[in-house]
Amino acid sequence: MDTNYILSKKTKQVFLSISVIGILLIALSFLFENPESKQVWMNVLLNNLYFLFLSLFGVLFIALHKIAHSGWHVSLKRIPEALSTFLPYSAALMFLLIFGMHDLYHWSHHDLHDPIIEGKSAYLNLPFFFIRMAVYFTGWIGLSYLLRKNSASQDLSNDYKFHKQGRILAALFMAFFAVTSSTMSWDWIMSVDPHWFSTLFGWFVFIGLFVSGVAAFILIIALLKAQGYLNFVNKEHLHDLGKYLFGFSIFWMYLWFFQYMLIWYSHIPEETIYFAQRLHGFPILFFTILILNFLFPFLALMTRNSKRNIKWLAMVAAVVLIGQWLNIYLMLSPGIMGETAKIGLIEIGSACLYLGGFLFVVLNALSKKPLLCKNDPFLEESFHYET
């Protein structure tokens, strides 16, 4: 029972080669495509956000299930804990934006003489932007560290107080995240188009975060199972994760559609410009995202057996992960680069570079602790779980 995940040399080499391929692609792109600085910074922001979301999902998953008194997730909780160890790296990468603000955010320029942006300057100004960022990361990293520490001390002692403490930490994180998940989406994504606003945007970004996190979670389980670990994770656990993926893909579409429909219906030029730019400039990408994130998982995970078959589930999860990446791409890129935006070598390269690093950090953290936690009051329930 006390097995650790062993990050083999071969696996490390695979991750390293993913990153090296990424670097090569970026180098090729600089040689042949001459990306402008806007495009480079767009890629930094895009992948920062994407992998930040995956690792935030780790904390969110633990906190959500802790306060809901859930039992089934307990035998799996080392994986979201490992996902959350990427947060400090995310923070470091995000603060790189100090150097790229003017390329990314139109509002960060001085003397714009733009009454709309001036009206928003109480919120959208450089010092406050970075203060907010520091607050977010302090809260997220601090609480995720405390939650991990709590779970580690629970392993050593049979005391019930750790369970109680964990629930308090979880509740604190949920309250903090409820506010910051909205504000972070305004700061980093919505303010790319500073004239545009949507009251639903925070939820929409949040649900994308949840869907891509579940998909990453499923893929890590599939990877570990393929290497012969996680015998205690059975079809019932997969079924629940499959339901998450299925249900939240539908909810993602629901929010996407209601944001779209209200803007389409009211037909106010400041609002419709956002969709006009994306729908007319990138029609193929626009509809591909809807198919990858909704139509495909909706049809592919409808039956019970499809959610219980790990290979099929992992395949759907991989498709959804690509779909969510494209979704963030389409939220950022036309706003930053206008009509010149296109997916070139640098986009693929930087995604590969981040992916290799992310996988290394997460699986390295996973190998540090036993895969199965101990002394959690719900652990036994997790083994006998049935959907």
Partner: protein
């Protein structure tokens, strides 16, 4: 005249264990009645997966086509009006209604299919086996036609599995 055995249990664990033993000995179980859904009972009884989701899917798909088709016909062919300067055939405006009708069709079809298959619904005779099964008792019903030896055999198994009470009843 047909008779049957009904064995009462007070605990679901005992019930599941008894069903398992009976299934192993190939004794035909007619029905199991429980006051609440018991986890894992389908698997132990070897019941086939319900076809209700398929009914829901088909009815939902019909609902989608019906709602979308009807709106298209109404707004484009039969009574075209200009609403807010939008084209007659505007998909986003049709989606909410299509969604609702899909849910409505699927839900109604599943409810009626369920009532039909389990012979419930309006005018169905109220057949409560024993009032305690609506409260805190679990019952296994076993056919007891064959002979006394068979009956004694079944009774012995049930008693061993901590059946609270065993009755021999007759079909009315």
């Amino acid at each position: 005249m047909r008779s049957y055995i009904s064995a009462y249990f007070t605990d679901e664990e005992d019930l599941l264990r008894a069903i398992k033993i009976l299934m192993e000995k190939k004794i035909l179980i007619l029905d199991v009645l429980t006051p609440f859904p018991v986890h894992g009972i389908d698997k132990v009884l070897g019941l086939k997966e319900s076809k209700l989701p398929t009914v829901g899917f088909i009815a939902g798909a019909i609902g989608t086509l019906f709602a979308f088709g009807f709106q298209t016909w109404a707004f484009v062919v039969d009574y075209p009006l200009f609403i807010g300067g939008k084209p007659h055939f505007s998909i986003p405006a049709f989606i909410p209604i299509t969604f609702e009708v899909t849910v409505l069709f699927a839900a109604f079809a599943m409810v009626f299919a369920f009532l039909f298959r389990s012979k419930l619904g309006l005018g169905a005779k109220n057949k409560i086996h024993d009032e305690r099964i609506t409260d805190d008792r679990f019952v296994i019903i076993i056919e007891a036609n064959e002979n006394d030896e068979y009956f004694n055999n079944v009774k012995a198994i049930l008693e061993q599995e901590e059946a609270h009470e065993i009755q021999l009843k007759e079909h009315k």
